[in-house]
Amino acid sequence: MKPAPFVYHRARDAVGATRLLAELGDESKVIAGGQSLVAMMNFRLARPRHLVDVGGLRELDYLRTGPDGALRVGALTTHHTVETASDERLGSGFAVLRAAMEWVGHLPIRTRGTVGGSIAHADATAEWCLLAVALDAEMVALGPGGERRIPAADFFQGYYTSALDPDELLVEVVFPRPARYAALTEFAERRGDFATVSTVVALDLRDGAVHGGRVALGGVAPLPVRSPEAEAVLARGGPAGPELFTACAGAAAAAAGPPDGVSGDGDYRAALIRELVRRACEEAVSR
């Protein structure tokens, strides 16, 4: 389990990184924290000829809040930085991100793994991908032609496939609106593993009543997906309580039609969706 040979390049800045990527072509790969990539390289499931290391670009390690209420997360911010961020740094209404970090691998993975790396890797069960989809994040990609912003709905395209071009570097993730009543929850047979099923629920909650919300699911498709059926139940609204949440969860489960996988067949995944969406609704309310 030793990686195949590659040529190592260290980027001096973000623009330099994109220039390197453009120069080296599609046999090159960006490495940030490397927590997924190096494992795949050790198995020789990934074998880039060139590795462009952006790990030293400290200018991409930040959490910025603005007057518009958005949270901008630098691509090289680690999971652990988010996990340990103060309310002030995180901004009002983003506690869901901090709470979600407990589900990302284990501490030694979170200290190295980055938000941008996780999203660019586009694993269908990864927490950041799910959060991005659920919370309508925008991905800021820097390429030879400058920056472009890609909405989450367009960003994820399939198993480990994103809208990033080979010469583009993901530099920032923007969460446009606070999500005060939101929660991520998931289930894996063993703590810290990739989830069998994961979900994010974000509720529009006012005066004890739900006036709409978002439900995103991971592990049910090649990419994280929203559940329009479950969101329709939330949009009809009602008191924040078991009746509404059970209905929402049921709608998500009925519509998901998840594929058979190693950890459980379709029926079981549907049952997990039902349970997890309900739990996430309850947790979202309790924030």
Partner: protein
């Protein structure tokens, strides 16, 4: 039998006996292994660096069953950094063949070539060894190897293996059966079943597991020209057996092979058989005349190493109206994979199950058929517990099912059936030495009750939650001597152990033992035994093992034999040395040897007069002033002793109690409490015994709930990483409350019984029973492990609406 809990608590003062001059045995002496392991100064196989050392990896089969039509390594040699590559043809090695002395109708011996020649039988089977400048280049080399196959239909399950017309894994083994024994068959057993008021049946299967030492297998082979000897440094539980096989395969005298075992990162049985790779690496080192290192990577460790535990039972038990068992009839099929392991053979699992299945219960009539079948999966080795986790699980399921049918309490039905009068000779013709079966059961139930779990179960039920309580009551035969192994008709009969104790002129002693610690703390516990016997401070005692040139002979460590057998040899050798010291001291005082005695630090007159003469002073005479020795005493201070067990061995026992909560929404099984009441006779070091219990229980839980090696229908292994092979973490493994009972063994030298495997044996049964207890409202009963969340969720999904 004494409840030693209080005594144990008193004895856990760290690092010393509790009272000055008190016994080292029975104290939780701090481990002497720890300082080097805690500071990174242990020396494991992969830590060895030799000048000019090369690195090996193996070209492995990519199909489960095929005729090999060609191996082309020409491109391998062009890969930068690759130094050499060898096939079986290049190395001309003898095969590894394990045998039983049984008729052909019962056992078929099959050869395991060191490197596969014209046939491969499992994905991962080694075909060629590539040797390179470093481990990276060696792996580059593997990618350049070209192997051509003519595929054969793979045999991927025991059921398929036994089906008429199934393809043959070994042409010499009809019906893919390597062992087929029918035993005991008490006369009239069918009539007992016909006439019994209650007959229950359990059909159970257990998943294939990997013992999974965290350190993978590995070896460093080098030729020592000065000693005219191959030095094979390898992590094995059985160094002398590796020497024998290496010498035979390489066609060397045994003296020309020295096997040395560095620190070892666990073994659990996986390393108690002789592997093929270490022999191939030795051959490559000889061929190249350079040191060669091989460290198995995790992918190979998960797919191409030795596995265990995949068994299928169809068992029936007859009971009378009072819940007393009348008869037991079992059919046991063990899926042993592609090859018979050396020295135990593929018979190891079915023979263990067949001989010992009645366990702690008074079973009047018994019949069993045990089979080992060969399949196109990685071969097996005797993993911690060997069949006992499985047959105990089946027995405990039979009793639980009978209890349900009779409307009895599950503990009460066990109470009526456990052996209470010892020695007890069972229907399986094994004589059980005294144990505390009934007492452990009673105490465990009492603890579960005192901890409030019965009440909690009721409260939970009222709230619509699902708590379950499960037990397993079992024994574990330990201290197998030559007699017990000979009964299995092994051609290579393990059993005895040899120890040498040698004192130097400073009064310090070096002790050799044929056992092989790989985490069990022998450097501490064996030293405790010697310190007690000679009245020495433990700091003066050094244990040596794992060097075939330094240790006369040894069978290594497996089957919980080390303290019971090895510890006894160590004590006898120390006692012999003590006698010699007494004779020297007595001669000096012109007394008879009976008139002096060993005390802490030396020897004194029995009448208490005069001074204590210290060991250095006596050693001075033995070595440096030999002219002062009496005529019948030889110079030097060393003594050798052997120990063997001439009866059926000694039985440790335990009862485990488990409380689980099932979460219907996800199917998650959460262990709320785990209690263990164990009796391993005299505990040399209670802290070490508890460590063995807890570690064993964790592995048992792993088998019950998490770990399974699976294959697709072409024999391709599907668990190739730790993502798929789910070794549980601290999040899944609960704390374990342990209580000790102590029924000393009458025939080991310290009163100790073995303690290595019990935890692993009891856990699957106890967990499975607890899950089934919690599943009661669903009407579903589960008899197959691992229990997955999906199975549990489905049981609820079918039957009850869970509260939200």
């Amino acid at each position: 039998m004494n409840d030693t809990t209080a005594a144990h608590q008193r004895a856990t003062g760290h690092g010393r006996p509790t009272t000055p001059g008190g016994a080292w045995i029975g104290a939780s002496v701090g481990r002497r292994e720890d300082p080097r392991l805690l500071t990174g100064r242990g020396r494991f196989t992969d830590d060895i660096q030799l000048p000019g050392m090369l690195h090996a990896q193996f070209v492995r089969a990519t199909v489960a069953h095929a005729t090999v039509t060609g191996i082309d390594l020409s491109a391998v040699l062009d890969v930068p950094g690759v130094v050499a590559a060898f096939t079986a043809e290049d190395l001309e090695l003898g095969d590894i063949t394990a045998r039983l002395g049984r008729p052909a109708s019962e056992f078929v011996a099959t050869a395991m070539p060191v490197l596969a020649r014209d046939r491969v039988r499992f994905v991962g089977e080694p075909l060629a060894v590539v040797v390179a400048r470093d481990a990276y280049a060696a792996e580059d080399g593997l990618e350049a190897a070209k192997v051509s196959y003519e595929p054969r239909p793979p045999v991927v399950s025991a059921a398929r293996a036994l089906a008429p017309g199934a393809p043959l894994v070994h042409d010499e083994a009809p019906l893919n059966t390597l062992l087929d024994v029918s035993m005991f068959a008490t006369e009239g057993i069918d009539a007992v079943f016909d006439g019994a008021p209650h007959v229950v049946r359990v059909r159970a299967s257990t998943g294939r597991q990997n013992a999974l030492p965290l350190e993978t297998r590995g070896a460093v082979a080098s030729w020592d020209a000065r000693e005219d000897q191959l030095l094979l440094q390898t992590c094995t539980q059985v160094p002398h057996q590796v020497r024998t096989v290496a010498a035979r395969c390489l066609r060397l005298d045994e003296r020309a092979v020295r096997v040395v075992v560095p620190d070892m990162g666990g073994g659990f049985g996986l390393k108690c058989v002789v592997g093929r790779e270490e022999i191939a690496v030795a051959a490559a080192a000889l061929r190249l005349d350079r040191p060669v290192k091989w460290i198995e990577d995790r992918k190979d460790a998960l797919t191409a190493s030795f596995l265990a535990r995949e068994q299928h039972y169809d068992a029936r038990a007859a009971f009378d109206a009072d819940g007393r068992i009348l008869a037991l009839d079992a059919d046991v099929v063990c899926d042993m994979g592609a090859y018979s392991c050396y020295p135990f053979t593929a018979g190891i699992e079915p023979l263990m199950a067949s001989a010992e299945m009645p366990g702690v219960y008074k079973v009047p009539a018994y019949r069993v058929r045990g089979r080992a079948v060969t399949t196109n999966k990685a071969p097996t080795a005797p993993y911690r517990g060997v069949s006992r986790p499985q047959y105990v699980m089946v027995m405990e399921r039979l009793f639980e099912r009978a209890a349900r049918e009779l409307g009895m309490d599950p503990v009460e039905i066990r109470r009526r059936n456990v052996i209470t009068d010892f020695p007890y000779t069972g229907v399986n013709r094994i004589t059980y030495d005294p144990g505390s079966y009934r007492e452990s059961l009673d105490l465990c139930e009492r603890l579960v009750r005192e901890e409030g779990w019965y009440a909690a179960r009721e409260e939970a039920a009222a709230e619509g939650r699902h708590l379950g309580i499960g037990y397993a009551c079992f024994s574990e035969r330990t201290g197998y001597g030559s007699a017990a192994f000979a009964q299995r008709k092994m051609e290579v009969v393990p059993g005895f152990d040899i120890s040498e104790v040698r004192m130097d002129t400073s009064g310090a002693v070096v002790v050799t033992t044929g056992t092989m610690s790989h985490g069990q703390s022998h450097e501490t516990t064996m030293a405790q035994i010697v310190a007690d016997e000679l009245g020495l401070d433990i700091a003066k005692v050094r244990i040596h093992q794992g060097d075939t040139d330094r240790v006369t002979y040894g069978w290594g460590t497996f089957a919980s034999r080390s303290i019971a057998v090895g510890g006894s040899a160590v004590r006898l050798a120390a006692a012999k040395l003590g006698e010699k010291l007494c004779r020297i001291a007595a001669a000096r005082w012109e007394l008879s040897p009976d008139a002096v005695e060993l005390v802490t630090g030396g020897i004194r007159r029995r009448d208490g007069t005069g001074e204590v003469v210290g060991f250095p002073e006596l050693a001075d005479i033995a070595y440096l002033k030999a002219h002062l020795l009496p005529k019948d005493v030889e110079p030097g201070l060393s003594a050798t002793a052997t120990f063997d067990v001439f009866n059926d061995g000694t039985f440790s026992n335990a009862t485990h109690g488990v409380v689980v909560e099932l979460h219907p929404g996800t199917g998650q099984v959460e262990i709320l409490a785990y209690l263990c009441v164990e009796d391993c006779g005299v505990a040399i070091n209670p802290q070490v015994v508890e460590g063995q219990c807890r570690g064993g229980i964790a592995q048992g839980i792993a088998g019950a709930l998490f770990e399974q090696v699976t294959y697709d229908d072409q024999g391709e292994p599907s668990a190739t990483s730790f993502m798929d092979y789910k070794v549980p973490t601290a999040h899944e493994i609960p704390d374990v409350l342990i209580r000790h009972l102590q029924t000393p063994c009458a025939f080991t030298e310290t009163g100790a019984k073995g303690a290595g495997e019990g935890g692993t044996i009891g856990a699957p049964a106890a967990v499975l029973n607890a899950v089934n207890d919690a599943l009661r409202p669903t009407g579903t009963e589960l008899d197959t492990t691992p229990i997955t969340p999906e199975t549990v969720q489905r049981a609820f999904g079918r039957t009850v609406e869970h509260p939200s």
